[in-house]
Symmetry: C2
Subunit: 341 residues, 2 copies
DNA sequence: TGTGTTCTCGTAAACGTTTACGGAAAAACG
DNA sequence: CGTTTTTCCGTAAACGTTTACGAGAACACA
């Protein structure tokens, strides 16, 4: 059906070797023949069979991004990732690489799927998102010697792989600073209960900032819940049912914040009025919620580009005109002040 | 590095042919040898090289979903697709197929990228989303004889490919019915200006329902805009600045509705109070917006599963125990009444 | 003219599988 | 015991590329 390099060769009456060399821009082919080959390729609508190339070269020319929804995340999805992927894809395409997004079922941990991608050599490298504190995916990949980069740090952080993360620690601290400045002293923090590393970073920043202001860290004002709306809805009351309830809550996740606000509403508490609410990672939902939620916004698309660059620099086949490899970068989150605090 | 079938064969002192047959469950291999092969495969952590299989078999065992953001869609993404993809992925995985999502840059039309996937044989079939009225992707694929399925219909609808769509026509009509029932007679319709087919379907339903109620269709109450927030913001005033403005607006898209509501707010008009607002495709944003927007909700995850099934049934290698192939299905949208109308 | 160099191309092996074919051994059958 | 069938396995080709190697022709140089 589709034309192969043999068809081209036969059509031009030259050997497949020459055709291949002409197509791949090698030097040892006559300028004239190359011209003819290229024209014939266009005429016969030839493009090389990817499996053939991959097999011979041992490279697939594609990068895998592992994506799967959080457990119970039927409806929401992560709109978050689309701009990130756009940036990632854009940069990879410039280097002739395809981005393939490998979907998993919601909830099942990626280990199995990751193994498949690696072992069947479906991609030349992978990009992981939302690294965990202790991330067995990272251990697996380093041990397997498979190239990868991560969106997010993990605790075993000194390993030599490119990683790009957001400064959740600073965001947590900034959020506290802002709230303290506005007169709050009882500030709650609600984060996902999963082992997701950003949850720890956020809490560290939160704690440090409180201490800096001479405010004791009250463990009753810190709570963990499922990383979705139901989680926020369930866990927020736990922090409120104290004789000395908080006057402000920082949510580490937009979905949890929405659930939390629902719980607050049922208690007759109005965010932005009776309670200051801050969200660490901004999404469109924060903007459209009423009241619009003050939140910290990441530069997703540039981050995607950057992580692609870092990954490329770590791949021998693409390592540019030198320059030391960039191993980790931590990007700031920008405060978007709205109406909820 | 990674073990090949040759390693296995050498290790077991049998031929690679036998190893392959054992692994693939062929009948002509001794039960005992098969056992040994499987054990050795586990021990040596063998899994077949995907490129090798694909090359030999002429099949990649993966399905491509073409995804790219709408032009100008930097921030929002389409949370829409995640649950759909989850369903799609789940069903494909059950048949041993991988789902790969091929990202494109925002705005660039998919034709080029699609050609690449097809011509380099990266996938065995593709799934298209948001078909256009006149969709050259469909023409290309049918002409190339490449298997595919679509989320959404297109006008050249009698071609023989599986397609699953939402009943936008009925939703448009239902929306009108509901509004008329509640006393509205000046009902505007705002939809994307792109050639997206659902925009036409929606408008058909809208028109028919109006006529059924004996209400003349006023072209001044119909407007097209960019399929994003800015589009809704820009186009909504155009419909309002009439001496006989509408008392209700149906938006064909959540993002456009949000922009439209912003424009209304600036005119001092409160949705759900001074103006009834209905959205055709529900998303989490509709739910969290204030006022919560009445919207028509699709069953995304089941749709994903179903489309996978339809696609599989159309692939010779997977066609189940017969039953005629399902070519097109149109699923209902469920009205979620909220506070905006 | 002889020797060395440069261009250009064909040959063939290799990547890791799957599978058609055939043959040896074992089993079944008369 | 001879013949036929069945069971099991090895051989080798094929999928579509890329690339190391070598060879012929053209050219340069002395």
């Amino acid at each position: 059906m589709a034309s192969s390099i043999h068809d081209l060769a036969r059509h031009l009456n030259i050997s497949i070797g020459t055709v291949s060399r002409a197509l791949n821009g090698r030097a040892d082919v006559n300028a004239d023949t190359r011209q003819r080959v290229l024209e014939a390729a266009r005429a016969l609508n030839y493009s090389p069979n990817q499996s053939g190339r991959s097999l011979r070269q041992g490279a697939t020319h594609s990068i895998a991004f592992m994506l799967q929804p959080h457990p119970g995340d039927q409806e929401y999805g992560e709109p978050f990732f689309i701009p990130f992927l756009t940036g990632l894809q854009g940069r990879l395409a410039e280097s002739g690489l395809d981005l393939i997004v490998v979907m998993g079922a919601p909830g099942d941990y990626q280990q199995e799927r990751l193994r498949r991608v690696v072992e069947t050599r479906r991609a030349d490298a992978v990009v992981l998102a939302w690294t965990r504190r202790e991330d067995e995916r990272i251990d697996y990949l380093t041990q397997a010697g498979f190239p990868f980069a991560t969106l997010g740090r993990s605790r075993s952080g000194d390993k030599a792989y490119p990683s790009l993360d957001l400064d959740f620690e600073k965001a947590g601290a900034d959020a506290v600073d802002r709230l303290v400045e506005r007169g709050h002293r009882r500030i709650a923090a609600i984060r996902p209960s999963l082992d997701l590393n950003f949850g720890y970073l956020f809490l560290d920043g939160y704690r440090k900032a409180l201490r800096r202001h001479g405010i004791a860290v009250d463990p009753h004002l810190i709570a963990d819940g499922f990383i979705n709306e139901a989680g926020g809805y369930e866990v927020t009351p736990r922090v409120m049912r104290r004789k000395d309830p908080p006057t402000a809550i920082i949510f580490n996740n937009d979905a949890m914040a929405l659930g939390g606000c629902k719980a607050l509403a049922e208690m007759g508490i109005k965010p932005g009025h009776d309670m200051a609410v801050t969200v660490i990672v901004d999404t469109p939902l924060c903007r459209y919620f009423s009241p619009a939620l003050t939140a910290f916004r990441p530069a997703l698309q540039p981050m995607g580009r950057r992580l692609a660059e870092m990954l490329l620099a770590s791949l021998p086949a693409f390592a540019g005109p030198e320059g030391p490899r960039i191993l980790r970068e931590v990007w700031p989150l920008e405060l978007i002040a709205r109406d909820s605090d």
